[in-house]
C-alpha cells in the first residue's frame, strides 16, 4: 500500500456507513411505489389534489402590484433607470454615435483597436496585443462594428457597476456576520434562478431597452464578485493586518491601504468573473431590449441565417476570450515600482503610447474613410458560404443516418421510458427518493433541505413539469459525464492537450448557447434528443474543465509514490489520481448540473414540455406571479443538488487532507 493509497483508504473509512435513516426513507418510498403498482394508493398520494395547492402566483401578483404601485417602488426604480440611462446614453454616443450628450462620438474603430492593442502589450506582451487588437479589427472587418459597440456601450457601464456594488456588498458581508448570513441564501437563489425570471421584473421596473438589459446584467454578474470579495478579505494574513495597525492606520486607511490591496488577487478574479458573466448575458438580455450583438443574433436566427449567426457567435467568443485573458494577465501582473526621481513620462510610458495611438488613428480616420467606418458593402462577411457549408455537412447521408438512428434509439428506447417512469412515481415517493439521495450523498442538512425544497415544488402546482425538467437535466448530465470524463482524462495526460481542451471549453462556454439550438434541431428534429444534445454540449464544459484541473493538480509526490511502487498507468489513474481528483471533479459535476438547469430553460426555444415552456409563455403576458413561481421551482431543484454535492465534496476533501 502506498502513502497515497493509505490516505485514500482512511478517507473511505471516515465516511459514515449508510444508516437506518436512509433505509427508512427508501423503504417508505418503495412501499409507496409498490402501492401504486398494485393500485392500492389513493389518488391524493399520487399527486397533490388541486385544493391543496395554495394560489401562490395570485398572492405574488398581489404583493407585486402593491409594491409596484401603492408603495411607489416603481417611481424609485424609474428614477434609478433615469440616471442609468444618462450614463448609457453617454457611452452610446461615444461608441456608436447615438445623438446624446456629449455629442462627440462615434470614436473611429481603428482608434479603439489601437488602444486595445497597446493595453494588450502592456498587460501581456505581443501575443496579447495581437489578440486584443485583432479582435477589434475582426469585428470591424466582418461588418459588426456598430452592433458590437452597442453591446459594449452597455457592458462598459454594467461591469463597473457590478464590480462596485459587489465590492461594497462583499465588504459589508465580511464586516457584519448577520448580513453575510442573510446574503448567502439570496445569492444562491440568484445564481440558480432562470434568466426568464429576471427579465419580466427588469422590464417592469427599469423600462424596456438598454437600462433593463444593464440592470439584468448587473444582477446576474454580482454574486461571484461578492463572494470573491468576502473570500479575499477573510484570507488577508494577520501579519499584514498587524503591520497596518502598528503604523496607526485609521479604519478607512485599513480598508483601502491594507485589506483591499492584500486581497488584490481574489478581487481581480472577481472582476474576471464579472466580465465573463456580463458577456454571457449579451444574447439573453436581447429579449428585453438590449441592442447589439444579441439582438442581431436573434434576428438572424429568426430568418434562418446560420452563417451570419455563427459569425456573431465568433465575435462574442473573441471578445470574451480577449477580456478574459486581459483581466487574467492583470491578475498575474505585479505592481511595478519605479526609482524615486523617474520622470513622469517614463512611469506612464504605456499610458502615453495608448493616448498617442488613439490620437493618431483618430486624426487619420478623419481623412481615411475606411479607418473610420467599414461600409456595409466592404465587409468580409461570409454568411452565405458558411450557410452552405453547414447545410452540406448536415446533409451528408452518413450523418443523417447516424442522427436518425440516434433519434429513434434514444427517444424510443431510453428517454421516453425514463421520463414516463419518473412521472409515474407518486409525488411523496419522489420527494423521499430525492431526500434519501441527498442524505446518502451530502448528509443530514442537505437531506432536510431537499425534503423542504421538493415539497415546495410539489405545492407550487407545477409538479409534472418540474419532473420533466429534472428528467431532461439528469439525462443530459449523465450523457455529458459518459462522454466528457473519458475525454478529459485522456486530455489530462499531457500538458499540451490539457491546454487545448481548456481553450475549447472556454470557447464552448462563451459561444452563445442559442446557436447550438439550430444545428441540434436540424440533426435531430424538434424533440427531446435535440434538447438534450444542446444541454449536453454546455454541461460538458465544466465537467471537462474541472476533471482536467483536478487531475493536473494531484500532488506530484503522490503520483511519484505510485510510480515507485510499480503501479501501471491504469492502476495509477484508478487508485491514485482519480480518487484524489474526485472532490474537484465533484465540483465540476455540480457545475454541470447548474449549467444544465440554465440551459434546459434556454432549450425552451427548441420546444419542450417543461417549466421552461411555461416560463416562455409567461413572457407573453404580465404574469409575474406565475413567472416567479416557475423560476423558484427551477432554483429550488438546482439548489438541492448543489447543496448535496458540495457537502460531499467538502467532506471528501477534508478526509483526503486536501484542504489547508
Amino acid at each position: 500500500m502506498t502513502i497515497a493509497g493509505a490516505e485514500v483508504g482512511s478517507g473511505k473509512a471516515a465516511e459514515a456507513p449508510p444508516n437506518r435513516t436512509l433505509w427508512i426513507l427508501l423503504g417508505i418510498a418503495v412501499a409507496l411505489m409498490l402501492g401504486r403498482a398494485l393500485g392500492l394508493l389513493p389518488d391524493w398520494l399520487i399527486r397533490l389534489p388541486d385544493w391543496m395547492i395554495p394560489p401562490t402566483a395570485e398572492w405574488l401578483d398581489a404583493i407585486f402590484a402593491f409594491v409596484q404601485n401603492d408603495l411607489g417602488l416603481l417611481q424609485v426604480t424609474r428614477a434609478i433607470a433615469g440616471g442609468l440611462e444618462y450614463l448609457l446614453d453617454a457611452t452610446a454616443n461615444l461608441l456608436y454615435g447615438k445623438r446624446r450628450w456629449p455629442y462627440l462620438g462615434p470614436i473611429p474603430w481603428s482608434a479603439i483597436a489601437a488602444v486595445a492593442a497597446v493595453l494588450g502589450y502592456f498587460l501581456g506582451g505581443w501575443r496579447m496585443a495581437a489578440l486584443a487588437g485583432g479582435t477589434f479589427v475582426w469585428t470591424a472587418l466582418i461588418g459588426q462594428w456598430e452592433i458590437a459597440m452597442q453591446t459594449m456601450s452597455v457592458l462598459v457601464v454594467a461591469a463597473p457597476f457590478a464590480f462596485l456594488i459587489g465590492l461594497l456588498l462583499g465588504i459589508a458581508a465580511w464586516k457584519y456576520r448577520a448580513f453575510d448570513m442573510a446574503l448567502r441564501p439570496i445569492l444562491s437563489v440568484l445564481q440558480t434562478l432562470p434568466f426568464f425570471t429576471y427579465l419580466l421584473p427588469a422590464v417592469i421596473f427599469f423600462k424596456v431597452g438598454p437600462t433593463a438589459g444593464a440592470v439584468a446584467t448587473i444582477v446576474y454578474a454580482l454574486p461571484p464578485m461578492i463572494l470573491m470579495t468576502t473570500l479575499g478579505l477573510k484570507k488577508v494574513p494577520p501579519e499584514v493586518v498587524e503591520a497596518g495597525k502598528m503604523s496607526g492606520c485609521t479604519r478607512w486607511q485599513m480598508l483601502t491601504r491594507v485589506y483591499l490591496p492584500a486581497a488584490r488577487t481574489e478581487l481581480l478574479v472577481g472582476v474576471n468573473q464579472v466580465i465573463m458573466l456580463c458577456l454571457a448575458m449579451v444574447v439573453l438580455t436581447a429579449f428585453i431590449g438590449m441592442p447589439g450583438l444579441g439582438a442581431k443574433l436573434l434576428a438572424m436566427m429568426g430568418s434562418f441565417k446560420l452563417g451570419r449567426s455563427f459569425e456573431i457567435g465568433v465575435t462574442i467568443v473573441l471578445l470574451a476570450i480577449t477580456l478574459d485573458r486581459l483581466s487574467k494577465a492583470w491578475v498575474v501582473r505585479q505592481p511595478v515600482h519605479f526609482e524615486r526621481g523617474t520622470p513622469w513620462w517614463q512611469r506612464h510610458v504605456f499610458l502615453l503610447a495608448g493616448a498617442g495611438a488613439f490620437v493618431l488613428f483618430y486624426v487619420l480616420a478623419q481623412f481615411v474613410e475606411i479607418l473610420n467606418e467599414v461600409g456595409i458593402r466592404q465587409n468580409l462577411s461570409q454568411g452565405r458560404e458558411i450557410d452552405a457549408l453547414i447545410k452540406s455537412v448536415l446533409d451528408i447521408d452518413a450523418v443523417q443516418a447516424v442522427t436518425q438512428w440516434l433519434r429513434w434509439f434514444l427517444n424510443v428506447q431510453i428517454l421516453i421510458p425514463f421520463r414516463n417512469s419518473l412521472l409515474w412515481i407518486p409525488t411523496p415517493a419522489f420527494i423521499l427518493l430525492v431526500t434519501a439521495l441527498s442524505y446518502w450523498v451530502g448528509g443530514r442538512r442537505p437531506a432536510i433541505y431537499a425534503a423542504v425544497f421538493f415539497s415546495i415544488v410539489a405545492l407550487s402546482g407545477w409538479w409534472d413539469r418540474s419532473v420533466i425538467t429534472l428528467y431532461t437535466v439528469i439525462s443530459a448530465v449523465i450523457l455529458a459525464t459518459l462522454i466528457g470524463i473519458p475525454v478529459a482524462i485522456a486530455a489530462a495526460r499531457t500538458e499540451k492537450w490539457s491546454r487545448r481542451m481548456l481553450l475549447v471549453c472556454d470557447s464552448a462556454q462563451t459561444f452563445p448557447s442559442f446557436i447550438y439550438l439550430i444545428p441540434a434541431i436540424m440533426l435531430f428534429g424538434v424533440n427531446d434528443v435535440a434538447v438534450i444534445f444542446s444541454i449536453l454540449i454546455f454541461a460538458m464544459v465544466p465537467l471537462m474543465r474541472y476533471t482536467i484541473e483536478g487531475l493536473r493538480t494531484v500532488p506530484p509526490e503522490m503520483t511519484e509514490a505510485a510510480d515507485m511502487s510499480g503501479a501501471t498507468r491504469r492502476q495509477k489513474l484508478m487508485s491514485v489520481q482519480i480518487p484524489l481528483a474526485l472532490p474537484t471533479m465533484a465540483v465540476g459535476f455540480n457545475q454541470a448540473i447548474m449549467f444544465a438547469f440554465f440551459m434546459v430553460i434556454v432549450a425552451a426555444f427548441i420546444g419542450t414540455q417543461d417549466l421552461g415552456q411555461e416560463l416562455q409563455r409567461t413572457l407573453a403576458g404580465s404574469d409575474i406571479g406565475k413567472n416567479i413561481v416557475l423560476g423558484m421551482n427551477v432554483s429550488l431543484m438546482a439548489l438541492t443538488f448543489d447543496m448535496a454535492i458540495l457537502a460531499w465534496a467538502n467532506r471528501r476533501e477534508r478526509a483526503l487532507g486536501l484542504t489547508k
Binding site: L298, N411, V412, Q616, R617, A620
Partner: protein
Amino acid sequence: MKTIKSALLAGSILVLPALAQAEDSDDPIIIPIHNWSSQIVMSNVVGQMFEEMGLNVEYVTTDSQAVYESVRLGDVALELEVWEGAFGASFREALEKGGLHDAGDHDAVTREDWWYPMWTKEACPGLPDWQALNDCAHLFATPETGDKGRYLDGPVDWLKHGKERAEALGLNYVVINAGSAAALWAEIGAAEKDKKPVLVFNWTPNFAEAVWPGEFVEFPVWEDGCDTDPAKGPNPDALYDCGNPAKGYLKKAAWDGMPDKWPSAYCVLEKISFTNAQIAEMAKFVDTDDMEPEEAAAVWLDENRDIVDPWVAACES
C-alpha cells in the same frame, strides 16, 4: 393633473406665442423592433419618414409580446405590426388595461395556419383539403409519435390552439410546440434535402414563402365565435374546429400620449397603410438580398416615394 397640464399649456401660450401651434416634441420617438425582418424594415421605413419630418427617432429591440406592456406605459410610442393571430390576445389585454389604442389597419391581410412545403403535396396529393390529413398521417409520423402524424405548432406563447383543433376535428396527429420561429425553419430546412413531408405552423407575409414555396392547409372556414361558441364550425361540441381567419388584420397600435406629444407624427402614423406586396418586398431586401435593415428601408423609401409622400403631405396642412 389635467388642469395643471392645461394651466401650464395656457401659461406657455401666453409667454411664447410662437409655440402656440401644437408642435411635435423634440424627445425621440421610440420605435420597437422585433426579431423578424419585415417588422424591422417597416419600423426603419417609418422611422426614416419621421426623421425626414425633422423628428428624432430611436429604435429599441423588444420581445414581440411584452411590447404591448411597454406601449401602454409609454416606454415606446407605437407598434407597427399587430398581427391578429399572434398578438391579438396581448394587444386586447393591454387595450383593456388602458394606455394604448388602435391606430388603424394596414391594407395587408395576414394568415397563420397549418402549412406544408410544396414537396409534401407530391406524397399526399389530397392536400390542401384538411380531410386528406388523416389518410396521410403515416407520412408525417416520426419515431416518437408512432403511427400518428406529427404537426409542429408555433411556440406556446403564440397561443395557436393546434392541439385543440386536432382533437376537435378528430385528426390522428400529435401536436408538438416548437420553441421559436428558428426551430420551425430548422425543421423545414432539415426536411428539404430528402423532400421529407412536414407539416408546420407558418404565416404570411413571411420570408419563408420565397425560400420554400408552400401552401396552407384549407380547414373549415373561420366563423366568428369559433373560439368561444362550440356550435360554430363542423363539430358541434368543440371549440377551435375552424381554420384561422384567412384574412386576419394587421394593425398599428399607439401609446395614448402620442397624439399630444407628437401630433404630426401621429397623424402620419394614422395614414400609414402597407400592402402584402410592399411588406414582402421589405422583407426580401434583408432576407434574400442581405441588406442591413437601415439600408433596406432607405432603398425601399427611394423606390416608393409616390406612396409615402402623400401621407406626409396630408399631415402638413
